[in-house]
Symmetry: C2
Amino acid sequence: MKVQIWSDVVCPWCYVGKRRFEAALAEFEHRDQVELTWRSFELDPAADPSSASADGQYVQRLAAKYGKSVPDAQQMLDQMQQVAAAEGLDFRFDLARTGNTFDAHRLLHLALARGVQDELKEKLDNATFTHGLAVSDHEELARVAVSAGLDETEVKSVLDSDQFADAVRADEVKARAYGISGVPFFVVDDKYGVSGAQPPEQLLAVLTQAWAERDPAPVLVHAHEGGAMCDGDSCTL
Amino acid sequence: MKVQIWSDVVCPWCYVGKRRFEAALAEFEHRDQVELTWRSFELDPAADPSSASADGQYVQRLAAKYGKSVPDAQQMLDQMQQVAAAEGLDFRFDLARTGNTFDAHRLLHLALARGVQDELKEKLDNATFTHGLAVSDHEELARVAVSAGLDETEVKSVLDSDQFADAVRADEVKARAYGISGVPFFVVDDKYGVSGAQPPEQLLAVLTQAWAERDPAPVLVHAHEGGAMCDGDSCTL
């Protein structure tokens, strides 16, 4: 059964959603037959690749964005941090940076081709939210990619080219076609969609339902027309 | 797009349905992206493999089965023959035999593995309805299989073993799961089913509809729950 998760690497709820999906999958009887693919979604495609915001400015940006005081913005981050902590995640918004994630998504497609996509997704999310990764920085991206098992030479040649740009764009085109406006967004067997970091039990319920329906009987078309057919040892005339 | 057709080689409407499907496919814009598989369906699994009924007895069998006089039964066959003739088929019920088709279906699965399944299906149907093939006879089956491009040694080793028996049974299990009680039965993309030798325009309509729907947006599950998500540059809290 195929599961696709649209996600960005600068999306805190995407990392929380990753943990919740992993918890759901751990409880899913047919987990060995689930094929997971991470799909690209840029929350801010216009973000400047050259500027990862500096340490400690995450809360200021948030305050400005929501028109709140810094203490109020910090309270919002604290709440988010507590939800993440409940999933075993250590969100360090004091270190967190932002930036353009297009190249990170290109590397996730390289990792998909090399069979280590989930490993890289985990390391990118962890580097971003726990270790203050400058997500647009090629040297930092390469270090994370190699730690996920990718070949350094290949990683650098991808970063220095536009390889996998088409794959990133294709994921984003598909997201629009699916009406996906925010992430994380889970798609099970191209059939069911789950928007947001839902609790594991709800994700498990969708996996279970999709599994039960994975091979439906075809809908009969034109049956009323009574096409000429043979049944058992006799044929209509 | 995947098309599966459940069919038997002693099923006159299946051969008519094959021609009608071919006519529909010829008109289908995306025919190059259609992958056709013939699926096994035995109309009479209990038929004796050792006895193919002798020449000329088809009409007697039909008369006995329907409790009609031989002339009335012949009239039924004449009607069927006319329908077949309209599809360019020459049905020779005066030559037609019956028999157990299990081994013919095993060879169709060998042909599937070798990429010549449609060629063999055509030759088996033609041999049965135009040339009086004794469908259970290994020598006659081998001759037809080789004429379809299969290797004679491999064909004989399959006939002398139970190779592909599981594949035939699996098709029949799937047919029951799909509620298929008669053939031909067309299944498009595991989604739409067409029962009987429907006119080409109806088969084309189903191909067209399935193609248009081949990549539907996923049904949103639990959307009302409002899972934590990030959208554009902001995240829910």
